[in-house]
Amino acid sequence: MNAVAREPWREPPIGLLAELTHRCPLACPYCSNPLELAARERELSTASWLRVLDQAAELGVLQLHLSGGEPTLRTDLEAIVARARALELYSNLITAGVGVSERRLEALAEAGLDHVQLSVQDVDPEGCDRIGGFKGSLRRKIAFARAVRRLGLPLTLNAVVHRHNLDRLERFVELALELGADRLEVAHVQYYGWALANRAALMPTRAQLERSVEIVKEARERLGDQLLIDFVVPDYYATHPKPCTSGWGRAVIVVAPDGRVLPCHAAHVIPGLVFANVEEKPLRWIWQESPAFQRFRGLEWMQEPCRSCPRREIDFGGCRCQAMQLLGDPEATDPACTLSPHHARIMATAEAEASAPPPPFRYRRMEPVPA
């Protein structure tokens, strides 16, 4: 089907995930960045990013997620935020909050930043340092969160949870309340890229998962409107997979630090896809017509059991990257789905990993790591 010319895709994207840099002071073993990180020399210039935002707004993008790596390492972040504001894009800063001064934050707020999402690796200082591979991180994060609230910016705490910090989930809720966060995102690790390389070190047991579901339910009932809690369950333990990125090429555009444009931040694991670069092609063409974005749109590419499944337009067969990474076939039913013939085997491996003692982390680092 790759060779068949297809109609350009007319629906506009909702969000643009701008991975401004892969540089980051932290080294989380579940980082969603690719194993092969882009060096600083390959990062887009300020002018290129501003052009990307102009093109994105014209294409219909409404929300801009400024991510990385650590986006605040870009000294031109204020200029990028200011352009987003001028274009009426809703800007969301996704940060680890360890090296950002209050003055810097103030400049970003003045430039028109709409929202801050702060990652907290653990509520225990030692755990936080161990997961992020950075000393004194929790203290800095808390100071950063307070500065965000002092400036009146809305704040989301993002808690990525796994076997090492799940037993402290209640304290994540307390911390969010204490810091005056508007939202708490409790996201179980999704196993792509670095996280897949660290799966045995991170995978929770089923009992841990079930407990986290209980805690979130209880906190939601108790806190009502006081704190909005978003919860992402690990799809290994789910019945059906998530509609990853709301379907391939349907809602989100990812621009990598070097200017390559992807339908999902993990899409580089799928062999044979060529990702166009914003330095060479307009964003509109990349979104509407480029082969990588067209590849898994529609339903024609699907195999059984997805092809004839009533849920095929709800979850689009799950994650293409996960199908690729676990089964070697990007068109297969996501093995997180209980209807996949491979589900039982994959689950058995994951559960065995979860109940064995955790191996050491393989930290996310810039240096090329031997495979």
Partner: protein
């Protein structure tokens, strides 16, 4: 949910409403959320950029649409309850 005349209402923190020329409609933007509000919601949200008592909101709308206040209050109340439940509008001093 019902509102008293002096309940102060405002658009929730982090929420923005704007016109989107690409989709040719208003959009409501919030952290990790995009909604497509109806024209009446847009009108109400526009008036709640600054905190405002419920009574004043109703009086303003009644004047604009030349309708009795009781009628407006009834219609607006239902819609506002919805917006509060969706955390788009907050009632000052009230958490749930």
């Amino acid at each position: 949910m019902s509102f008293a005349r002096d309940d102060r209402l405002a658009i929730a923190r982090g929420v923005r409403v704007r016109f989107d020329p690409v989709r040719n409609c208003h959009v409501l933007l919030a952290p990790e959320r995009v909604l497509f509000p109806c024209p009446t919601s847009v009108e109400i949200l526009g008036r709640l950029a600054e905190p405002r008592p419920f009574g004043e909101l109703v009086a303003g709308l009644a004047a604009e649409f030349d309708a009795p206040e009781e009628e407006i209050a009834r219609d607006v109340e239902a819609l506002l309850s919805d917006l509060v439940a969706q955390r788009v509008v907050r009632v000052e001093g009230r958490s749930a």
